[in-house]
Amino acid sequence: MKDSKLIAACEYNAPAWANQEGVLIALWTDATHAYALYQPARLVAVALVEGAYPALSPSRPGAAWFERLAHDLRGHVARGGTDARPAIEQFRAADGTAAWPVLPAPDGPGVHQVALGPVHGGVTEPAHFRFSVIGELVVKLEMRLGYSHRGILGLIRGKSARLAARFAARVAGDSTVAHSLAFAQAAEAALGIAPPPRAVQLRAIMAELERCANHAGDCGAIAEAAGFGLGAAGFARQREALCAAAGAAFGHRLMMDAVIPGGVAEDLREGGAEVLKDALDTLTAELPGLRRMMESDAGLADRLNGAGLISPALAVAFGAGGIVGRASGQRADARISPGYAPYTGMEVKVPVTAEGDHAARLLLRLAELEISAGLIRGFLQTLPDGPIALPPPAGSGAGLGVAESCRGPVWVWLTINAGLIEDVFIADPSARLWPLLEIAAAGGDLAEFPLLACSINASPAGVDL
């Protein structure tokens, strides 16, 4: 059986399970074991005893979500866990009905509740937020997720890597490239194959393009939530231009199904490189003006500076990655550590700050927009010739794969038996952002919540699976 290096180094014992240092990235179970993944890529496992394993949540609050999810998906119990509430299970009857969930308000004079979702007042994904408020002050936020549960992990099991890639590409539509890439790298690690160099570089171009489009979209969403329409329109236009360029260069505006196990599905289209360069030139030419506009507006500054604070300690406790982590002093970026091709050996700039407020997250997104645009230009210049994919063999093995999305690292773990996927777990970075949102919302103003949600931008679909 072939195993990736990361899997081969996995420690299978109870003392190792309990005594790990560092930031927890994910926790999941299969039929026989519980697995915990730590930064940058350390895997530890412990055998299940009567369907249970020792909980990690007492010392690591970020583990709680994964323990709840493991119970929903497999019924496995985290012994001594801090939180036994369901994660995505809603206990619905055959006709879809269920009792209105009791999400208790804290005791105290004047506390009442405000319910928001799953049907929202705009074009957005479903989630239910229950605010316990005193006047306008949020004293507690409790969420209910799972509304976008489609049954993805079950659909992946029993299929070949190539067939299953269609589901991995649709875990979270906005990070479809990152999810496809993490899935492909996990499958390739399990089967012991390496995609051709041209495919590796095309994947990186797509991943950075997706990062640019998402960061532009997020900057626009932040401006919109803060009531700054001009900024919202400006960034939405940038996002549109990038999506249109992706469509012209790769045949799909979101580049869905473009990354497949073994390589990429389609080569860069004729004239695609020029279209991408033009779009990036427009972006980098207009970014300074957009940035000035955002920075010089006093009303916007008032909404963003010092608001929505996430302390470095909180970011560590929940293992926040991506923009949210890096705006709160966490240096982690999966492109550098553990690193994957073509970034290994390259100097990739990763801006970090410790301010932890909305303004810091906005500025980091703006900075990364510029850096990613530069990366794409470089990749286009040095794009090697050659094949774009090789067929995955019908082998067996276990593999871990990672790709840095706009929210942080997407991790995929899978086992393949005679070419068919036996078991799989997909950890979207949002799993570590939602609990953080609950905490960050408490103590703030109810009317500020949309801005906080946009600034953190966790994906419901990514965790609902």
Binding site: R92, T97, V123, S148, G151, L155, R253, L254, A461
Partner: protein, 173 residues
Amino acid sequence: MAWRRLIRHLVSAPAAGAAAADPGAVAAMAERLRSAGMRRLGRSLAILHVAAGSCGGCELELRATGNLIHDLGQYGLSFAASPRHADVLLITGVAGRNMLEAVREARAAMPDPVFVIALGDCAVDGGVFKGAAANIGGADRILPVDLMIPGCPPDPARIIEALLAVLAAHDGV
């Protein structure tokens, strides 16, 4: 200066050519609306969007219809914040079991008549997620659907074209 940009945007020509509806689709829908005894609602329609089990891709493209390039508002279409103010129920995603109740309740809260639109392959027939226990297929498994807009996801121009068919058909009633 911000106001200068604003004025420039207000007086300049639209960035893209105006989209037009497919005449065949218009005729078919107008017939359906007439046979359903649909009343005239006026020239503009408000849309309530409900994601019933989606990856978020359709939402991105739906949101993109409102940007400066596609500018959905120029056709008299807008998104409503409340089902009470909406004429169109636009569903994205598969009919996830966890959203069945919410979709039905959103429909019940809308004043009649209501157009129901299924947007994206998942809402059309379940798309790639068809067959999983967590969902029951397309939007028509929850409610009768008047218009299907396939694609994974359909691009903004295609979405607008399809929505214009609703407006045009509605005009002909």
